[in-house]
Symmetry: C2
Subunit: 340 residues, 2 copies
């Protein structure tokens, strides 16, 4: 069933033009009559001829590929962000290489382990929280770099304002009449996250502006972290009437503990997350949407812009967040225990 792939020579022969004309047409170079261009494209279509990126790369110096570096591929956020990046690169006829660095991230010199050099025209990092040293090592790859989920001075960055997101969420809970608002943060051993820090700061600022003392608990990350933190809050002498979680995964763990303890949401405790995770709607969880698809699309288009010279390589794009009201937040019912 497999046939020898058509060569550029085959296309030239069928179209009745020279090899260099085929090359010019397929590279999109100027100086070819429209009629000839159509004939070449038609012949290429008929022969299912696809330009070899390798061969064309040796001519243009471009690889036609962009590398996307993610810490993990499993969490919901990354699939959605990649979807946006993929669509943006597709618009520009660029291929997407994906590197999941996971545990290698912990290793000194992990950036060197990536075969990026000369294999890619640009690098997009997603939620990598790169140190300046790591940025510089990626600079050594010698291609443009766009950071997603991180705002680095002088570097192309696409990110949300995490502080404003949690400050807004805190204000929403204050507006409902809550004053005992606790915050569940994540705790990671591996590396510190800027986004994590900023979200806590936004909550603290929101509480301070209302003259209230912040109350944050951090046990672990993921759903387990939410379960542990909620357990501690429910064991307090005077439990909170509202809980804001750093991200939806933590809120889901907290929600599970509340359900199992028979504490009603939102009647006894209001619960709010951050991310608008796929499963937040399932739980009717009020949350802060950060639209990862739009973030990915924007980052992909910015990358294309930097490559073709229409965008600056130090552009900063701050993406909006949006509070999504669902059933998990409501006004507190006076000052009463959990069982009212």
């Amino acid at each position: 069933m497999r046939s020898q792939p058509a060569s550029m020579r085959d296309v030239a022969h069928r179209a009745g033009v020279s090899l260099s004309t085929v090359s010019r047409v397929l590279r999109g170079a100027p100086g070819v009559a429209p009629e000839v261009r159509r004939r070449v494209q038609h012949a290429a279509d008929e022969l299912s001829y696809v330009v070899s990126r390798n061969a064309s790369g040796l001519v243009t110096g471009r690889t036609g590929r962009v590398a996307v570096i993610v810490p993990f591929l499993q969490p919901w956020f990354f699939g959605v962000a990649l979807s946006g990046i993929s669509d943006a690169l597709r618009e520009a006829d660029l291929d997407m290489l994906v590197y999941q660095v996971g545990e290698t991230r912990a290793r000194e010199g992990w950036t060197r382990a990536l075969p990026l050099r000369r294999n890619t025209d640009a690098v997009i990092t997603v939620s990598m929280d790169l140190s300046e040293e790591e940025c510089q090592r990626l600079d050594d790859v010698g291609v443009p770099m766009v950071l997603v989920g991180q705002c680095a001075p002088g570097r192309a960055s696409v990110y949300i304002d995490d502080r404003a997101g949690t400050a807004g969420a805190t204000q929403h809970l204050l507006n409902l009449g809550h004053t005992r608002i606790a915050y569940i943060g994540s705790r990671r051993e591996e590396w510190s996250s800027g986004s994590s820090r900023h979200r806590l700061e936004g909550y603290e600022a929101g509480m301070a502006a209302a003259g209230l003392t912040p109350w944050s608990v951090s046990k672990a990350t993921g759903r387990t972290g939410g379960e542990l933190a909620m357990g501690e809050l429910l064991s307090d002498r005077d439990p909170p009437t509202a809980v804001l979680a750093e991200f939806d995964g933590l809120a889901m763990g907290a929600h599970r503990i509340l359900r199992r303890s028979g504490v009603r949401v939102p009647e006894s405790i209001s619960l709010m997350g951050f991310d608008n995770h796929d499963a937040a709607a399932v739980l009717d969880l009020t949350t802060v949407d950060q639209a990862p698809y739009d973030i990915g699309l924007t980052a992909g288009r910015l990358t294309v812009g930097v490559l073709d010279g229409t965008a600056r390589s130090d552009s900063h794009v701050e993406m909006p967040t949006q509070i999504i009201l669902r059933q998990s937040t409501a006004s507190p019912r006076g000052s009463r225990g959990l069982s009212s």
Copy 2:
């Protein structure tokens, strides 16, 4: 900050060997003394020299890349499967290109729009439900192909036994004492899914074996489909005591409707999904785990095996499924209405 990338010539100079020796070492070719090999590798490390896939590809005929084709990147399943594929390819020092074909899938000749030829050593398709004609068009790319989530005769395939999965789930509900067991299937306009068909067949076979009449409802796909189907089932003169959904997304929609209608799970209706979606644990949903990470890892390793000649290009690997018992299924309480 950016320096000129080191060339193979730089490596040769630092190691004090000829260019062709460097080339042999970096390609892993035989005939180089271990001591020389170490010296070249040390020099390459010091210079952060990374082999250009393009240049080495022109020598070996290999690109060092595998293309993964997915219909969508956003649904949870694909991120997890990609994570497994990525880890397997990484073990073999292969890069992963990802193509999200989405809507282009509907277009005639979508396979031709992929710049696969000569840009990739192999193609992995995930949940693409390829027709034989589409398979043949991908054959034209002229590289090995591995199908994930689809069992095609004569072609390397990694898949679960969907029929056995739903038959087992149905048996679980029968064992609990249910007899009025309804099935919620998906309905798609775009293309028919083999997995979808097989899951329905497994349920029907399980019911038939128990001498019961199958009862299936298909409205749409996703959570909306689950909501609509559950609405119909709750409006029946004699609602089911147990519901099995084709996948967790449908079960989540059904769960939402049950919650909003005040129908208790599992007291009044047992609910069971399929997939072990990220959010299934959050809802305490009993489900059938299909371990997409393992599926991806297996498919990636099979691809590597086909490329290096240690696996047959028509290997079929059937992955096991596993019922995950949670709180959403229980024995029915006699024959009574929904409100008991």
